[in-house]
């Protein structure tokens, strides 16, 4: 993405953002609340529109609306902070819906693939339950399986563990680390520094709508260059 700008009213939430993510790369976006990192993540599959600049995925410019946009979103997996599983559908139906209705897979094929994915994220035994009957951690893993079922080119994670109890954070992070190791292209907005250290190829630090610093995890955590990043790390790592 290059020269991306976005305003919410008077608030300039994304200021001239330039970011390139290579295939297979895991980029972790961190920063204080209100720094625009979630907005950045949501802009990539156009859940938020942008005022100017451009976003390219796989060399193609992000369509503005309609069928072309829907096709693009099918190629971009998204995991939300609040899971957003379809509340009226079973876990299995949550995962098969996209492949069947968007990709045109047969029910049998979709189900088989869904069970594989649910096994991979460790919730296959919950397949017939409704989302509300699962714990937060389980719901989030189902959400990851739902996104993976579309065979996305890139996965976006918008604070995937922020709504979880501390005990459940690890089960979700483990799933994400495994995914990163398998070579998935990932953009992860998170406050989990442990995950950034373990799985990230690159850390992007945002503050006040700008990318302040970009570097490898080791370098960022041990030797941050900007004052803003030092201040931020001091606050979160200090206790």
């Amino acid at each position: 993405m290059s020269h991306v700008n976005k305003h919410f009213g008077d608030l300039h939430v994304l200021k001239d953002i330039n970011l390139e993510v290579a295939r297979g790369e895991v980029v972790v976006v961190i920063g204080p609340s209100g720094s625009g990192k979630s907005t950045l993540c949501r802009a990539i599959n156009r859940l938020e529109s942008i005022d100017d600049g451009e976003i390219l995925i796989d060399g193609k410019r992000l369509p503005e609306e309609g069928a072309a946009l829907a096709r693009l979103r099918a190629d971009v997996g998204m995991v939300f902070q609040s899971f957003n599983l379809f509340a009226h559908k079973s876990v299995l139906q949550n995962v098969t819906l996209g492949p069947m209705k968007v990709r045109g897979r047969s029910p049998g094929e979709a189900k088989e693939r869904a069970m594989e994915l649910l096994t991979r994220v460790g919730v296959a035994n919950q397949a017939e339950k409704l989302p509300a009957q699962l714990s937060g951690g389980q719901q989030q893993r189902v959400a990851i399986a739902r996104a993976l079922a579309m065979e996305p080119k890139v996965m976006l994670f918008d604070e995937p563990t922020s709504a979880l109890d501390p005990e459940m954070i690890n089960e979700v992070l483990d799933t994400m680390v495994a995914l990163a190791k398998q070579g998935m292209t990932m953009i992860v907005v998170t406050h989990e520094m442990g995950f950034a250290r373990k799985a990230a190829d690159r850390v992007v630090f945002m503050a006040d709508g700008m990318i302040v610093e970009e570097s490898t995890p080791e370098e960022f955590f041990t030797n941050p260059r900007s004052e803003r990043a030092k201040d931020f790390l001091g606050k979160i790592l200090g206790h």
Binding site: L47, R73, F80, N84, A87, H88, L97, G98, K101, M150
Partner: protein, 228 residues
């Protein structure tokens, strides 16, 4: 007292009270289907991403919700049928009946639309975002994700609309349909001796029709509530 009861009983020999109620039930049933289909369509327009459709939907609701039902029915009969000469059925009575169904459907569709829209508001915005994020465009997202949840959230207001519709079928008398209120007028005119009983019969008839609707919607709204 016995005399009064005998007089009252003779009313049922003289007039087809049950038959008249049956007309109301038919009107309710058909207009419920009609208004549900049309109301869903208008609701879909009102939540669609296309501004001109939203405007059209809003216009529809404001026009029909704010027009008295009597005016709509009289317009259909005197304007569309009498003036424009459009016959819906070669049978004279059937023609009026069908006009009444259309009028009731047009009018209540506005309320059905608003009920569904209130149901849509019970669906968290994240559900729509998740649907879009897996690549569903507006119509499939609405059909597969939003509406199934919205309808469950709309059961109570839809039930209220159905109750209003049931009672509003009496306005079909204005479209010359011989339903129960039209018959009531006749009975009052020709059998003033049992006028109180006539009123009570009609009132009780509607209570019997409407109470189950209320019970059913309360039960269904609990049973079908989406667990979050």
């Amino acid at each position: 007292m016995t005399d009064y009861l005998n007089d009252f009983a003779s009313l049922f020999d003289q007039y087809d009270v049950l038959g008249a109620f049956w007309v109301n039930i038919q009107l309710t049933f058909l207009a419920a289907i009609g208004s549900m289909l049309l109301g869903s369509l208008v609701a879909l327009m009102r939540i669609s991403p296309i501004a001109s459709l939203r405007l059209l939907g809003t216009g529809y609701v404001n026009l029909f919700r704010n027009t008295p039902l009597t005016i709509i029915l009289v317009f259909l009969v005197l304007g569309v049928w009498s003036q424009l000469g459009i016959n819906l059925s070669p049978d004279f009575n059937r023609n009026f009946f069908l006009y009444a169904v259309i009028g009731l459907s047009l009018y209540h569709a506005a309320f059905v639309c608003e009920s569904i829209r209130s149901g849509v508001n019970t669906v968290p915005v994240g559900q729509a975002e998740a649907a879009r994020a897996i690549g569903l465009s507006f119509l499939p997202a609405a059909r597969l994700v939003i509406f199934p949840q919205a309808l469950r959230g709309a059961i109570t207001p839809l039930g209220n609309t159905l109750i209003a519709l049931t009672k509003n079928t009496t306005v079909a008398a204005a479209a010359s349909v011989t339903e129960i209120s039209a018959l009531m007028k006749t009975m009052i005119e020709f059998r003033p001796d049992v006028i109180i009983a006539v009123f009570l019969t009609v009132a009780l008839g509607f209570v019997l029709l409407v109470v189950p609707v209320g019970l059913l919607t309360t039960w269904a709204s609990r049973k079908l509530a989406v667990k979050r």
